[in-house]
Symmetry: C7
Subunit: 91 residues, 7 copies
């Protein structure tokens, strides 16, 4: 089973980030706030309009907390949100 988002919606999968402080200490995921980092899993047909690439599958993104709809499929948790809830790509 695969999710094919409609319009300018994006399917993401939240990722538990390991955070490295400047001094090099790694904080495990459990010691942090609600994750806001995710990987793009699927994008709707209106996301990359007019031959302008805004987002690609596989991109790591920052998204707006509390936005989107959470969906469970085949035991995995996904979030479907609007492109406007994606704030930035992490490079």
């Amino acid at each position: 089973m695969k999710l094919k988002p409609l319009g300018d919606r994006v399917v993401i999968k939240k990722i538990e980030a390991e955070e490295t402080t400047k001094s090099g200490i790694v904080l495990p995921g459990s010691a942090k706030e609600k994750p806001q980092m995710a990987e793009v899993v699927a994008i709707g047909p209106d996301v990359n309009r007019d031959d302008k690439t805004v987002l690609n599958v596989g991109d790591k993104v920052i998204f707006s907390k509390y936005s989107g709809n959470e969906v469970k499929l085949d035991g995995e948790e996904f979030t479907i949100l609007n492109l406007s809830d994606i704030l930035a790509v992490i490079e």
Copy 2:
């Protein structure tokens, strides 16, 4: 009796999903949250505009929780919602 939705509205029928976890265990419908999965039963004339097919009758879709109007017809429960409340198609 048949429902013919107006404008860009869609008639769906919620489906009780059997959820299979990665380890293969099947959770019966009653052990889960409110279903968000549905089958498209009828689509309004403005859903597939400009010869662009967005949705077909029979599609399995994910829809936005708490959206739409519930209607009972011939003893069956349907939900009528706007196309914008359909988040993704499941393939």
Copy 3:
């Protein structure tokens, strides 16, 4: 006396539906929820725009609960609502 709705408004008359379950049992109107089914009594000049028939007088429709204004005329109850509150036609 006759109601002539303005713009894209529609005058409907709610109908108490007799509901037949799949097993054939008829539930009288009083055993059910607030009716959402109605018959179109009059339509405003902007309902069927651009020679596109959306609604006809006499159509049976499903409308959005809690929408519209209730009006009493000659002892009869009518509801005046916007076309956008009509969800589907029943055929």
Copy 4:
């Protein structure tokens, strides 16, 4: 003194309707709900736009309850509301 409404505003005067039930019994005005019936007293310059007559002075209309601004002039009560708060004309 005369009220000349601006834009698409309409000045109406509420009328206490005598309601005749189907069996012919007349209910006096005091036995009913807040009146929603009114007579059009004056119309703004933008009401009948593009040579399309929507409303005439003297028309009996149904208006949306709780809308509009009540004004007292020369001891008489008027209501000034937007054209969009006029739901239907009674013929």
Copy 5:
């Protein structure tokens, strides 16, 4: 000092109306509700657009209660509001 309103704003000065009932009795200003009658003191450059005179300085108008900003200048009270809060001109 003089107020020159911006855009489609209007400066008005509320007037305490003496109200004459049909029988000719004059009610002094203190016996009435909050005044809604005012005289236009100044109009912004966008009020009479496209050579269409909507309002003139000196016009007596009815305005929407609770709208606008009250300003004190040289000991006098003025109200600055949008043209859309002016409901009608009294002639």
Copy 6:
């Protein structure tokens, strides 16, 4: 340090007005309500669009109470607000 507002924003500095009543008595600033009078300190590039001068630096203006963002720079208090929160110029 200097503030250069973006878009149609305006930087103002509130001024404590001395109010002279008609009889000539001067009320000191402390005896009055929150000041609504200000001097324009800087204007964004979109304020005077299409060669139409709406506002100049140095203008005394009346602005909408409670609007805008207060900013402290070099020990001085400024308010940054939208052009639409400027109600009138005092001449």
Copy 7:
């Protein structure tokens, strides 16, 4: 890791301003309110549209309090907000 904002979003880093009063006394950051001053770290592709430079990386800006999303990356705190939440540039 680097943040690449989407659309007209801007990534900023708040700066703790040392405030010098007119008399020359320096107030340390801790003695002041929530900082509203920031440095622009990255700008989305739609910020400087139509060859019109609105903002540059490195600009010191004043932004609207309580706006934006806070993000932690590599142990550093950033804020991602819309261009419309940037009020002014400090020169």
